[in-house]
């Protein structure tokens, strides 16, 4: 906990230094950062809206990391989910009732994401392709798939911009006050993933594979199969994030839909030490950062990309600080099992 806080603070200090170094006034920039993320209902709304996709993609990453699978592809899986949800909502049955179309769009998003995750999973289990590279490459594929869709089959009927039509009201996520129901969904899934990992037999096996594939194999658990399963499940979670974005926030599909949620997700997962419940405050932190950075860009002109620097510092410090404790214990377990 203290180490997590320390790395978060260090990340903020680094970005403040970078901002000052680049000639922006750090005072107003940091004021905008705090005001845009924490002060007042509008700021909280912005923070919560950013937290939902970060929590879902963070869970996608954490679930896979727990299984020893490096899912760097949450970004692509999110986009695949957004694409699938939009396709169903704008090109699916016209006039379908909300009770059907809403859940169907969300489900389509989960399936779209799962498809991308499973593609990497199958390449890994059947052909031995490193999931590190395949998930990263699939991110680029997904980006261009979205471009292809909004310039072609999913392009708005008006045809003015490369974007999809607005999603029908029936497909949109119900509002919960100022935010959408996806926030609640994300929280619920954090609990569900926690339950799965620590109370379900599938989760036990996933973790066993992550701790030592070889020991797991001796225990009759096929590591490749569970690795592929983790990628498919993670893909579904990230796909849900994409579906919630289009049905709850942007209401349309367009290029550049995600400001890199799927990459921030790695920082979310590591700061939360791969623990589903700890991911909630971690996602809140990065959600607030994302929201604040938006305000900082609008008001002071500091590029929102500054958040990536914070993420990098947090990732570096949270791994560096964990080495020699849990990290090396796990490494020793893996070593002993070789």
């Amino acid at each position: 906990m203290t180490r997590a806080l320390a790395s978060a603070v260090a990340g903020l200090v680094c970005v403040a230094a970078a901002i000052a170094l680049l000639g922006y006034a750090p005072g107003p920039a940091l004021r905008a950062l705090v005001a845009g993320s924490l002060l007042g209902p509008a700021a909280w709304t912005a923070t919560l809206l950013k937290t939902a996709p970060l929590l879902l993609t963070g869970l996608a990453v954490a679930l896979c990391f727990r299984c020893g699978v490096w899912n760097i592809g949450a970004e692509g899986q999110l986009l695949a989910g957004a694409l699938a949800a939009t396709a169903l909502a704008t090109r699916g049955p016209v006039g379908a009732p909300a009770w059907l179309l809403g859940p169907a769009a969300i489900l389509a998003g989960a399936l779209g994401g799962a498809l991308f995750g499973a593609a990497a999973g199958l390449l890994r289990s059947l052909r031995g392709v490193s999931e590190v590279i395949s998930t990263i490459l699939l991110n680029f594929v997904a980006i261009h798939c979205v471009a292809l869709a909004v310039q072609g089959p999913l392009r708005e009927v008006a045809g003015a911009y490369p974007q999809s039509d607005a999603l029908p009201i029936a497909a949109q996520l119900p509002a919960l006050g100022r935010v959408h129901a996806g926030v609640l969904l994300a929280l619920g899934l954090a609990l569900a993933v926690h339950w799965l990992l620590f109370h379900g037999s599938v989760g036990f096996r996933l973790r066993a594979v992550g701790l030592s594939p070889r020991a797991a194999r001796f225990a009759g658990i096929a590591p490749e199969r569970y690795g592929a399963l983790a990628l498919a499940l993670g893909g579904a979670l990230a796909g849900l994030a994409g579906a919630c974005e289009v049905t709850g926030v942007t209401r349309r599909l367009y290029e550049g839909l995600s400001p890199g949620y799927g990459y921030t997700a790695i920082a979310v997962a590591l700061l939360g030490r791969l623990h589903p419940l700890a991911l909630i405050p971690s996602a809140l932190f990065f959600g607030a950062l994302e929201a604040g950075a938006g305000a900082m860009q609008r008001e002071v002109g500091v590029p929102a990309e500054a958040t990536k620097v914070v993420q990098a510092v947090v990732i570096l410090l949270s791994t560096a600080l964990s080495v020699g404790r849990a990290g090396s214990r796990r490494a020793r377990a893996a070593e002993a099992a070789r």
Binding site: I133, F140, V141, H144, I315
Partner: protein
Amino acid sequence: MSEALLEATLRLAAPLLLAALGELWVERAGVVNIGIEGTMLFGAFVGFAVAVATGSAPAGVAAAGLAGTCVGGLFASFAVLRGADQIVVGTAVNLLALGATALASRALWAGAPPTAPRIAPVFDAAGADLPLLGAALLRQTPFAWAGLALAVASGIALHATRAGLRLRAVGEAARAADAEGVPVARTRALAVLLGSALAGVAGSALSLSLSDTFSEGMTAGRGFIALAIVIFGRWRASGVLFASLFFGGATALQFRLQARGVGVPYPMFLMLPYLLTLAVLAVASGRARAPGDLGRPYRREAA
């Protein structure tokens, strides 16, 4: 295959070849550096910025190599010296590069970078009457020549020198190498520094040779393709050379088809290199054995 296509193949392969050779050394020492993408991006940015500031493209290339080395130092200090997870540290390097170069380029040029002096082919019109390969070779920038020379040199250095043997020993069986008195951490760190310097130079080939400006995220996954090239090339210098030429050729062909305007949507073309890389990995993975201790942090006390 026409001469122009051959020439374009080599030109487009050069940055991939340089980066992949760097990664080859790193992986032969037992380290996976996926931060190579970010290292290239840093190289592209620093090389461009220095070339603009000094008016000298070679100075930019040198600075890019230096910048790559610094990024490699960051990677090595966490992933090698502290034994932190290599994938995680590499991811952090990539994020840092995306964020820091975007921040700096907007602060320096307010989102509209100028054009830099370019590294042009040394012999421009020469070689017209040479046989096919000769002309295509002669019209290259020094990036391509350096890549070809380094591919040969890497093959020799890795397999016919004492230092190369030690490097491979560290990557193959770190504990045994340690027992033989080879300093594992130092060897790995040195490999990372060298490999990252090459990645930095490869990045500058993007901003000073293939184009004359810097754009955010301009590496666009080339570092990751370089990682795939090392696997496709079966962790051998000759394999890496041919794999790089394969990808260079595919890109050259893609540009040609695109220019001819066959009725395929533009994003489809952009997607092709990544799909091709995935296809190549699906075929090539598992055919060659990776270095035995690839990706495993080494700690002496873990014994």
